[in-house]
Symmetry: C2
Subunit: 211 residues, 2 copies
Amino acid sequence: MTRGRFVTLEGGEGAGKSTQAHLLAEALRARGIEVLLTREPGGTPGAEAIRGLLLDPAMSWEAPAEALLFAAARADHVAQAIRPALEAGKWVVCDRFLDSSRAYQGGAGGLSDEDIVTLHRIGSGGLLPDLTLLVEIPASEAAGRLAMRDGGESDRIGGRDAAYHAKVAAGFARLAEAEPSRFVRIAGEGTKEQTHARIMQALAQLIEVAP
Amino acid sequence: MTRGRFVTLEGGEGAGKSTQAHLLAEALRARGIEVLLTREPGGTPGAEAIRGLLLDPAMSWEAPAEALLFAAARADHVAQAIRPALEAGKWVVCDRFLDSSRAYQGGAGGLSDEDIVTLHRIGSGGLLPDLTLLVEIPASEAAGRLAMRDGGESDRIGGRDAAYHAKVAAGFARLAEAEPSRFVRIAGEGTKEQTHARIMQALAQLIEVAP
């Protein structure tokens, strides 16, 4: 059986990644492709338990411990969900993956990019997506969308300040520039249908050559 | 203020490390030394929460995720308890530390020793103890002592088979041989008082030059 394709969605808070991940999974299923739709941190019982620790506002993780927890959650997710799905020929659509760690803990969080990539090699054998969709919106629009969520409340990560989120966005942009063959930058402005159409266009080639 | 001393106790299950850590902390306090007595995995609220995930029999962590979780717990423990205590001039007596990860996840668990040491550099700045006491007992005695605990019940790590524990013991011995200036091997046979006396003898030089 042919190995499935691994597609990740990346970007800052409020860019619409989760919505787009759902729309993408639906569109692939409508084409008869079996899809595992998942997200990070989380996606397996072990990784969801780690997610609970990471997002707990009562905890005060410093950057190195946080990076190790994300890598541990990812290792469990890859070993127990993503790799088995790919080996069974399914496509995997994942809302956030390694590049979020590189942008959040690496670029903006004080760890070197090299160390984040090393943690991924040790934890997950360095598995990389076939395609990474970087969904980008202007900072002002992201702020407006985030304010709409849960009456403006946010979790430990989302609740950080504007300068932090700007650094994260710049970090994602640098990653996309450094790996143009893996990344496609998607404009996230406008309606969700417009963004979805851009994503399906970016995926056309990958779908065409799929088994 | 002079930095405190950092002493770890290592060894397989049933060697008497926890008992000896308590006796050592008492003996140091009797000499007027301020002591933080702690243990791994655990020692801070974050690390204790990770310990709960690691020891949960319902979870099935593979070796890389397990190693990352231990490193994350250690990073929190070092940042939020061990380093602050040492900087305040206290001694730290810690029941298990890095060498347990090297012996359990590295030697016996399928990760390379180099990777375990890399995780410690990323997570905890590579902090090493001033002195590591390796408490060793014959495998037959360890088995007898473990059978006495909780009617023979054991947790996820302790419950593994004899071959696994023999590999762990061999891993500890190799570490001690490779770093003779940091390790002292302590015979753990006989009464707890006899073992404690051996430990105080091993510590004599460190106590003498202490502030």
